[in-house]
Assembly symmetry: C2
Homo-oligomer: 440 residues x 2
Amino acid sequence: MSDQRVIRPTPISGFPEWLPEIRSVEQRWLDHIRAGFERYGFASVETPSVENLDVLLAKGETSQEVYTLHRLQADSGDDSDAKLGLRFDLTVPLARYVAQHFNDLVFPFKRYQIQRVWRGERPQEGRYREFTQCDIDVINVDQVPLHFDAELPRIAHEVLSGLDIPAWTISINNRKVLQGCYEGLGIGEPLAVIRAVDKLHKIGEDGVRDILTSELGLTEEQVKVCLELARIKGADSSIVDDVRRLGVQSDLLTQGLDELAFVLDSLSDLPSGSVVADLSIARGLDYYTGTVYEAGFDDDPGYGSICAGGRYEDLAGQFIRRNLPGVGISIGLTRIFAKLVAEGRVEGGRSCPTDVMVAVPAADRRDEALRTATTLRERGFNTEVFHQASRIGKQIQYASRKGIPFVWFPPFEDGKPHEVKDMATGEQGDADPATWTRPV
Amino acid sequence: MSDQRVIRPTPISGFPEWLPEIRSVEQRWLDHIRAGFERYGFASVETPSVENLDVLLAKGETSQEVYTLHRLQADSGDDSDAKLGLRFDLTVPLARYVAQHFNDLVFPFKRYQIQRVWRGERPQEGRYREFTQCDIDVINVDQVPLHFDAELPRIAHEVLSGLDIPAWTISINNRKVLQGCYEGLGIGEPLAVIRAVDKLHKIGEDGVRDILTSELGLTEEQVKVCLELARIKGADSSIVDDVRRLGVQSDLLTQGLDELAFVLDSLSDLPSGSVVADLSIARGLDYYTGTVYEAGFDDDPGYGSICAGGRYEDLAGQFIRRNLPGVGISIGLTRIFAKLVAEGRVEGGRSCPTDVMVAVPAADRRDEALRTATTLRERGFNTEVFHQASRIGKQIQYASRKGIPFVWFPPFEDGKPHEVKDMATGEQGDADPATWTRPV
């Protein structure tokens, strides 16, 4: 060993990794998110980490971020792997999955998917090259009822409420309101205006005004109304009146306002301020066509979205000749979790799942310790046996360092009572492995 | 949509994917395996999907199978991603993890890791390019007590016993027995003989005899004893006497037989035949130094191992100047699961986790349906509300197709009773969402 070259392992930037005590918290979060999704009847789907490149690039939007796979020593002429890339989100795989398995799925298809995605971005704060997304989507043939637009932020609200994270707000808007308003103003390229307004939080009103005026050629009056619209915020459907007061007329605008009001009214029982309308929310992606969602931390709005989604009219048109609209929302688990870990705001859990560590009082008592552990395991306690008959102080120290809540002492001789020590209180007393219960 | 080119999605060979009803079974398996590992106090660890190439190639054994990552449109001169490869097992990441976080871990470090690995192999039966492994390992500084060699196959036995799979056997051997016997026979290259004997199940006794004689130059008598040793099998430590009867003497052989007898005696309470000694098991990998494990299906021995592992003297010598021996065992989840799926031996579960579907009797009764669902969810039932006020027959058909066990009917008017239909029995009766319980 000593004459060997040592390759000093270093963290890989953008690929987070946790110690066991942090991982146990992440695992609790993942279990909580999964239970929250299943509580509403969403079914688990996992897809392979890779997709064919033509599937990944069908939308052509994020090609520069895609990681492709190559075999280190590919046979010459064998390019079968050269067409594979790691998924960069969970929406493209969903579209491909639904198209590929169309005849085997029951619609409306309600799935959740909690998996890692990869993007070859330059690492920066809040951006990872490998991160876990938690997506739920409802896909149906031809038409998805509007009440799902309200159900999804409700699920996200319930899930986020159960995590120990700083205050956040889910902002809601409707692309039809934006597009309808711009059309009502006589603007020819409403999508270009949406993309410009989407930059509001990054470049400010002056920056957006500049794009609208110089690049898109809007009139001063058009720009004024666009910015007034983007300033409208509110906790309930009264914001609809604020929009109407702008005096713009269009059928699409009316339809969008009806939808937005329905979603806000449906969520009016949630705690005040947790879900709000924010007419500046646009979501840059072209495929959203109605309701859009975006959530961020209240104390760090510049950090960007921790949860986002919306309604799309055509999920899988590139892959199948069926009209498959849907609505979805995605929780950025790693974006949330890694930020809080970095800021020291995640209180580490236990570094192991052990409930009871059985001490070995002497080498010839190991069998008794093993029998005790078997009894405790059969009764549902996660149990480990200390690995050697060391002095008791050393065994207790191991349990303490691992955060194990109870240490069990089998007797030194048969017939004597067992004892158990509560590591939190220090109390120690007689106990029977066949009947012991955790003190409340 | 109709004028768009359609990219017909096709399965990618070697990358398995499941429909929801199969995925729900896989998820149950994963939960079961995790619970089994935690029952013994092993802590969850996950590592990034990628490692630096010099880490992956430190052992130099499987380089041809490694997938490397490249950005589709890398900036010229930026080769920061060119050094990354997808992990091909969970042992190399564990070694790197333990070395990197050495000062933050409590030893003996007992971790489990359930994650996907990737190998750029040509797909064939039982070989996947992406598959899930379930590993447990115990790592300690300088010395790992032998009783862990017995604990790991016990855990694997418990975990496999809880899965609905065809009969299997865990075979155990000890490399010291093989190496000690070969050394006692005066063979100069015992590792070369181990690698040859490891091929026994593939090429048969004649094939192995040929290698031992022609390539390694063993005498007829040496070959005879090597093959006699490989024929020894047995359910308990009486096989030690069979080995002694070969009349070979070496300290290493004696030590190996003592270890093997200890492991077999420790497991003697398990059902007869579930764990056996098989002196032909060698495990080709050079890093095993003592106990080795290999499990296969009894009815398809040619399929290869579904669970394997062993003891190694030096896990992380390439990454840290500490002596870190360990013992580990790995369950090949995908190897087991995908084979059974392909053979139609996995009975599909439900295609969604919903316990109760609440019907919508009429459009104006949706609020009542939503309130009912909220009550049921708060009481722990996974509940979905049907998406529209269709005729009741259509709503029941949806529940039936998704395998939802109960359909709930809110009343057509306030004050009337709710009813619930048990889809398995067809029985329907009055029920109160605040007090209803699932019939036993």
